[in-house]
Amino acid sequence: MKLSLNWIKDYVKLPDDMDLSRLAYDLTMSTVEVEGAENLAERFDKILVGEICEVLPHPNADKLRVCKVDVGMDEIKDIVCGGSNLEVGMKVVVACPGAMVRWHGEGEPVEIKNAKLRGVASFGMICASVEVGLADLFPADDHEIMDLSAFDIPAGTPLADALDLNDIILEIDNKSMTNRPDLWGHYGIARELAALYDLPLVEFTPYVPETTNTYDVRIKDIDRCPRYIGAKIEGLGVKPSPFAMQSRIWRVGMRPINALVDVTNYVMLATGQPTHVFDSNHIINHIEVRRAEEGEKLQLLNDKELTLSNDDLVIADAEGAVALAGVMGGAKDSVLPETDSVILEVANFESKGVRRTALRYDNRTEASSRYEKAVDPERCDQALSMAMQLFSELYPEMKVTAFKDLYEKKLERAEIDVEFEWLDRRLGKRIPQEIVAKKLGTMGYEVTFTETGMHIVVPTWRSTGDVSIKADIMEEVARMYGYENFEATTITTSFDGAINQLSVDLVRKIKEYLAFRCNMQEIFTYPWMSDEFVHALMPNTDGILALATPPSPTEKYVRSSLLPNICKAIAKNERNFPEFDIFEEAQIFYDGDYTENYAGEKLPAQKKHLGCAFVGSPDKVAELFRNAKGVIGAMPRYTHMEGFTFEKLEKPYWADETVWLNIMLNGKKIGDLALLSKKSALACGIKVLSAVLVELDMDALVPFKSRTNRFTHVPEFPRNDYDLSFLVDAMTKWSDIYALLTEKKNELLRDVQFVDEYRGKQIPEGKKSITIRLVIGSDEKTLTGEEIEAVAKSAVKKLQKNLEAEFRMA
């Protein structure tokens, strides 16, 4: 919202030497965020009023003229101009060298320089109103220059002085005052400044109607319309409003239209209370405020054709809707060129209804944006007073011929008791009573002091939800006293044990393990899944929750697994990387296992999951698989939790037929580790690379209370590695070989390790070559070669006998 400082000064007399940056800072700290302050006059620097003394033809161009112009300097200047309305004696706007103008009102402002135009030197330029940004105040045709002849100002006067544009425009962040309906006009900000600087605030004289005729106003829904003032005013007419009024309206970002409309806008900008005028000749019989009929039609001022809902509130006459209450007038009843009498509407509409209607038709207006903040009904008095004052100034002949103020649902002012003891404790210091009284008083609070506290009646304009409890009063006192005038206090603490959160720590340990020990990159994805990935990885969408208003029509499912989005990330990254390992930790959800808390809240299942992808070339699937298995298998050891096992119980839907495992903890399946099947990969758009995926339920993990690894002695006598290579049936499992060699305890065989396996050229069909390592050693002595050979031979025999292993003799 834009505010004119001159306008504010109508209501609070700020000192002339008020430091602007101080004012902006104080307002920002105590009330609303001032985003900027512009000195309007600076826009018109080096732009002067000139008077045309002579208009001569241009020697080299038919459409240009050479004007002799008096710009209040020692000599008459030559200025080349193409304006179509140049006349001797005309007062014009001259942009002197150094001024900034916008060529034909377009693009960025450019600096005017002394230049020759088609061979004739020109001192600056004679401007059209668009070129100095004043088209709204001086509407003109394309080739017309701006005519100031109507103003009684001598040549050489700076334009800003001539048009009284020496004003500061404050830009307020609207977000910072959504809760303050009282601030959406100049008067409201003036009231804050009065309280900040302890200055008096101008009061409005209430309007007293002279007529005894009653205007017929009917309210059918007093919840939606607590108050409606209708006044029939005659003796008016359509004409431009005075320049000063137009100028103010323009400065704060609206466009002057005509005197009747300008008055309503001016009143709104001043008080924050929207008002409206209907052409009374088009209002049949009476004004009625009611809900719209379902399907009722209304054409708005901006020519939008609406089909209304029963939730909309309309202003209607005997024949039908004439305006969308609090949002916009209708086309039928608006001010027309021949309008000479109006119905002035000053009304209060309930905030949420106005908001719903404005949003329903995507038709937010200056009026609706104010109403939706909850304007208080008593502000109608101020607006009425000001509107009547302005009408009588602009139209001395005007007469109010009928009047009605229907105010049936009175606003209750909030009343709050505040104890000093509480206030002091919360503020950390005592603020003198007279300061509290003065600040609150200026802001409109009625304060009665008692021995131990105060009784406060909140002003109406703060009683629409803004101020209702003692914490609100504390805030009012603190911000007006100045937040920066309170000394910082330290935080005291009571020591009651160290923070010990095993589950929280475990999540971090796992993520750091994956990132720093396993060289994987953490990613974040959205909680909604794209349909194509859901269908690629899941048999159906049973039990998957969905969003009512999804980000896009194909992203309504809320993730029940991390894998769809991880696959999306794989498809995206395979274009740039030949191999990569990624992981994500996030919550997943499904429509089931609802839990209810004591407050009766029932929430669907939500679990913390870990998803991983090991991605690389398809000819390295075995490597990807062993990487994944190694990372997951070693995770419990490095992150200090109960260990996993791998089993083959239930193939995940998305997994390859052969390469898959379930991750087990204490006999329960807590996750999967598998190669993404070719079919699923293609459905995900993963075209080049293979991926081994892991998904794990992190809520099922059991952290150890502390580190549990035990120290083992370093062996005193040497351990000997003894490698064996042999051929076995290709279907033989490593787990079978391991079990075979370790089922019977052999004191000297310390370990059996997998080294390598190979299928290929020299290996017969249906066989594979496998290399294993026996770790042989004793705790009592250094073994002799014969003793070591004996252990190895026994292993060889077992393998030959049980697995028909063929050893290649050395």
Partner: protein
Amino acid sequence: MKEKLEALLREGTARIEAAKSEAELQEIKGSLLGKQGSITELLKEIPKLDVALRPEMGKAVNNVKNLLSEQIEGRREALKLKASEIPQDFDCTVPGFEPKIGGLHPITQMCYDLNDAFRSMGFEVFSGPEITSEYYAFDNLNFPPNHPARESMDTYWLEGHDTGAANDKLCLRPHLTGDSVRYMQTHKPPYRFVYPGRVYRNETTDARHERAFFQYEALIVDKDFTYTAGKVMIKSILSKVFGQDVPVRMRAGFFPFVEPGFEIDMGCLVCGGKGCSVCKHVGWIEIMPGGTPHPNVLRAAGLDPDEYTGFYVNIGLDRLVMMRYGVDDVRLFHSTDLRFLKQFH
């Protein structure tokens, strides 16, 4: 014979000095001191000499023999220490191998930095469910029944759970504050905890707006806690995270769940408060809202607001990370683009 001996010593010494490898040295040793070595041959000739000359010559030859032996051993040691099999054209300017390194998401990193800072001040870390009821998302937090934020244009309601009473309506959490009530309802005061997490808003995205973004809330609840102590808390945390003294100011702000509420600004670290494009020339950057928990929130948590008070802060994590690294598009955080994510180690 004497000349012969001296010549042998000279030649031997020269050969030993010139030896380039242990193998060569071994060969030299053999040719001098071996069974048919020149020195050995000389020794064999001593008995043939005049008796009077024998002891002197014997001694002289033995001397040379020992001298050469020492030289050979010395040279052998020297060769061992100098040993290098690497050709001299080895290029040391070739770049090193990049370690294959993973990493945490930059937002996780910032979150952990904050966790460490808050934990050092005795705060617990808490997290709540991302799907919540309207009751915890709005009602408990003093949002009026018709607050605009509740509408579907702002909040992601779940299909089939988007009508009815507070406990029937479910949504992706629009903010974290609801989780503070969950914590307070299940723990005993005084409270000191943080609850970072992701929140969701149904809105149009652009470089500065996301549908999913991260917040970091902290809440302290105790008897007699003034809002100025909140300022001390924020200043301590920011100064620790940014590694330098960070000026903080609190100004009027409004949020339903706090009263009084504040907008909290930190001094712009880019320009040191002088004003620059990053801080839009005001020297301050709006970093988080905060304030005293609204009495209705404390009541929802089962506390007496006359007895207890406290301080909330809500840090926009994305914003903080953007500032830390100069990231100019918030959507990059959920892009999963490794070319982006791999930059933050």
